[in-house]
Amino acid sequence: MAEYEIVGKRVPRVDALPKVTGEARYAADLTMPGLLHGKILRSPHPHARVLSVDTSRAEKLYGVRAVVTAKDFAGFRYGFMASTRDEPPLAEDQVRFVGEEVAAVAAIDEEIASEAIELIKVEYEPLPAVYDPEEALREGAPQLHQDKPGNISAHVKMNFGDVDAALANAYHVREDRFYSQSVLHGFLEPHAVIARWESAGGITVWASKQSPYFLYRNLASCFRLPLSKVRVIQPYVGGGFGGKNATFALDFCAAMLSKKTGFPVKIVYEAEDILGYGRRRHPMIMELKTGVTRDGLLLGTSCRLIADGGAYTSVGPMTIYLSGAFLSLPYKMPSFRYEAVRAYTNKPVCNAMRGHGSPQIRYAADCQLELIARDLSIDPVEIRRRNVVEAGYVTANKMHVKSCGLKESIDEALKAINWYEVRREINEHNKKSGRVLRGLGIACNGFQSGARLHGHTACSAIVKVHEDGGISLLTGSTDSGQGSETVLAMITAELFGVPLETVEVSKVDSHLTPVDPGSFGSRVTSTAGNAVKIAALKARDKLAVVAAEVLGGEKEEVEFKKESVFLKGRPEKAIPFRKLCHLTYTYGHGQVIVGEGHWSQEIDMPNWETGEGDLAGTYTFGTQVAEVEVDRLTGKIKLNKMVVAHDLGYAINPLACEGQHEGSVFGGLGHCIYEECRVEDGKTLNPSFLDYKMPTAMDMPRVMESIGIETMDQEGVFGAKESAEGTQVSTVPAIVNAIYDATGVMFKELPVTPEKVLKALEGNISEGEG
């Protein structure tokens, strides 16, 4: 492996200091002359016809500058694909969930805007509502969308190999039903936007987005503007986790209110807007029928899935597509059949969230594998080892595994937790029948390293070297908190042989930075990283030409190291990097040093109809091991240790990877034990960080170990693959399997609350399932 100066080192983040000192400015911090403040009126009904909206009193209130309603948007709908555009910026003649946006006001201050909202009179005619996805799909259920009969928001079918024969010939077949609940992204920075309508025709927006180019496209189509007239400027972003990809009511309304008033308009959501009425992870009901050989080798699985989509479609079709496609990783699954329906319900909209569709299905599939292992008296580790995919494997749905460190990740995870010894200890401990039960669990994952979607999918970068040797990196990708600015800066600095501080990474400004799909599908390091490398090398080439002439050699011989430029093998005769930059600018007629690069996975588009084909250029794999304690008298679970061993190709910044892994433990722990949107008659009862129980630092495991398995992937920049979302895919099943080990009860419904545990432990559980 090559020795690098910067890449591969545990480097603190380039944005750490401004963030911890409070110098970093987020969208809600921004202000500008003439700024108006907007507020949004929401529906108190889960389902109702909107008979009339009377804004006259609000308009007359002192300080109110404009009010907008659905009429202003003239029937505009947005959505993920042309066929799924079912969401208006403001509700038209029907509201479909409690909290749906109905009107918006801009006023000279927030208080007046709030007061004006209260003065808008909306006449509703309540309609019967449906909250349960299974009920929504039944005949006679209240219908949410006229043009979507049966409340079917999306429907995905896949069928690979002969599943019926596989199940018929299997030595053992298991059928289980699992449920993954509604959980929230939990980013701490609320949605916030300032939109300014430009008199010359166009919109400038400052918005908290992890994928600002979705907003760019949505605003262009909503306001019928050429794309180049929409300027999206990205401030610092305080977390996204999939929840800041889309465009929301506040974005459209701020722009419309600015257009109407001629002044910039700012809208900042409250925590309640997000926790009570905002996007969330899809709850899923998953029925799996799986057949194995006597040795526990998987033969096939038949999966029925119902996703609870909420009132609109959002990216839901992709969510349920991914849940199906990833039935085939990380274990060899020679045949599978998948049928998924995403049901409309009168609840807030569900969308992508860290791991997008995978954590739910992996929870079901990996926990079922645990039960299969028990049925066949096979060691849980052994059954996984027998089924793991390896490099060169092609899945039943034609996904190509290029690099794969799954086996190594199992080995390393077991070693880190001292599995077999702890196993013996725990067995001894649990025999004593004390108050505390202990358990050990394992689960594996496979994930896409850089999602490849339809539409524009390449990442691009521009590297500009200043004449004093400073470097500006312009990319369209967003650091929503994951640390990608640092990683991209490291790649650039490494290639120029300069210290990290030399590189400034710009934030997105769609007038200046190259277009980018966004920060989703774990694609920034894996995709933008390659684009940055290409751009940097192009810019470096220009320097190399001048260096070769000055040093009397060939361009190909020029090396860049430690702020020096020299011919290979002759470091004693070197030019300082800064001097070379200056020389290049003044050389001949003078030139600017700019390099441009773009990169995308070179794979065919999948067949969205059949589900066949690659979803990414390469895939990541990993193993997680959890050690838990369960209090038999209270049901309380304590996650004591968690090991994340991830095949990340190559760790460009192991410190950042460790942060990602700990983030996954946090997210998965919350999903597994603590978090749930408690919805009653369409109302979220816990729309605050007090009542929505995200774990606190005190609930995190005492011991967390992060292990990078380096497989030097051919696709990835410096061999790197994703080490982000993939690491949250197996957190839940690892913990649930550990609880199963401790209690003998497999919990098939999330979250595994202490109450459920206690109930299961007190009851007579003949099946060993809860």
Binding site: P44, V98, E110, E272, L633, T696, D699, P754, E755
Partner: protein, 335 residues
């Protein structure tokens, strides 16, 4: 969310505060640390004309020992209650209960007086004005129904302050100031069993201090807090246990928070020496399970909370017995 508009009054004495409260006839609120009142104002649960801020009453921030009493000023921050040498020496359970309140930032701002006067809480009530539009008004907001138990006619909002059950067992008294002077009442008579109203303070009264008798007999007190997370959360069940010598026997008393509209005490009885430990534990467990009857589903079902009450009471007794058993000159007959 922003605060409603209000006039701000910062009196120099409790008497001035009471005078203003009296003048405003319920249209004023008192703010000490603000950790409970400010969110309530932002959510428009209260829209006072006047906010009476106690920020100038610095002399009410004290902990001192006098005449066999530990006297604590109402404006003593919970953090100081948690850290005070005197509190830790005499009443370690009180220090512990203070340490388990909310998070560190709340404890820095929140006061002992504010914690005792914590308003009763409910999932259907402690919500923003926007959220509350999606439900019919309840008993607490001028309606005729309780969303927690629709059939009943009473409000089931829950009292959740952590320090109250410990103070009840310690037989604390509170000093209440009014326009015409001070009165001292036992804490046990301070609370009212009403979801609508947590305590019997009149609209023009102010809690100014707490007094705890330093116990003459050997006793141990423990506080056990059951909550989903190890920080921030209110108790799902908060149980205080006292075990002390009483004549020839060992007396056990319990007090609970988080399970009803007020904190309450239970006498588990006096157990003769030598102690039948098992009998004592069984009796305590039975009593806690039977007498704790939560209605609210927040934090878990009522039957789950009953179980937690049982476990926490037993845990508390065990902890107290361990303390007494370990103390010098063990005369309790506790092994």
């Amino acid at each position: 969310m922003h605060n409603p508009r209000f006039a701000f009054y910062s009196p120099a004495t409790p008497r001035d505060a009471c005078a203003m409260l009296s003048k405003m006839q319920g249209r004023a609120v008192v703010v000490a640390g603000g950790t409970d009142m400010v969110p309530r104002m932002k959510q428009r649960l209260v829209t006072p004309e006047v906010v009476v801020s106690l920020d100038r009453l610095r002399h009410l921030n004290y902990i001192e020992e006098e005449d066999g009493l530990l006297k604590i000023g109402a404006l003593t921050p919970l953090r100081e209650l948690e850290r005070s040498e005197a509190v830790r020496r005499h009443f370690p359970a009180l220090s512990k209960a203070a340490r388990l309140v909310a998070g560190p930032v709340h404890r820095a701002m929140g006061t002992i007086g504010g914690n005792i006067c914590l308003e009763n809480r409910c999932s259907y009530y402690n919500q923003s004005s926007v959220w509350r539009k999606s439900v019919d008004p309840c008993l607490k907001t001028g309606g005729a129904v309780c969303h927690v138990a629709k059939a009943g006619k009473r409000c089931h909002a829950v009292y959740s302050a952590d320090i109250a059950p410990v103070l009840l067992l310690l037989e604390a008294e509170v000093v209440v100031a009014g326009v015409s002077g001070e009165r001292v009442i036992p804490l046990s008579r301070f609370f009212v069993d009403d979801g609508l109203k947590a305590n019997g303070l009149a609209a023009d009264e102010l809690l100014t201090g707490v007094r705890i008798p330093v116990p003459p007999v050997k006793s141990a007190v423990e506080y056990v807090k059951m909550r989903p997370r190890e920080s921030v959360d209110f108790p799902v069940v908060g149980t205080a246990v006292m075990v002390r010598e009483n004549g020839d026997g060992i007396e056990v008393r319990l007090a609970f928070t988080g399970v009803a509209s007020c904190p309450f005490m239970l006498n588990a009885g006096i157990f003769s020496k030598p102690l039948d430990r098992r009998e004592m534990i069984e009796q305590v467990a039975r009593l806690a399970y039977e007498k704790v009857r939560p209605v609210s589903k927040a934090g878990g079902s009522p039957s789950y909370k009953k179980r937690l009450a049982r476990v926490s009471a037993v845990d508390g007794v065990e902890a107290c017995l361990a303390v007494l058993g370990n103390s010098k000159g063990n005369s309790t007959g506790i092994q």
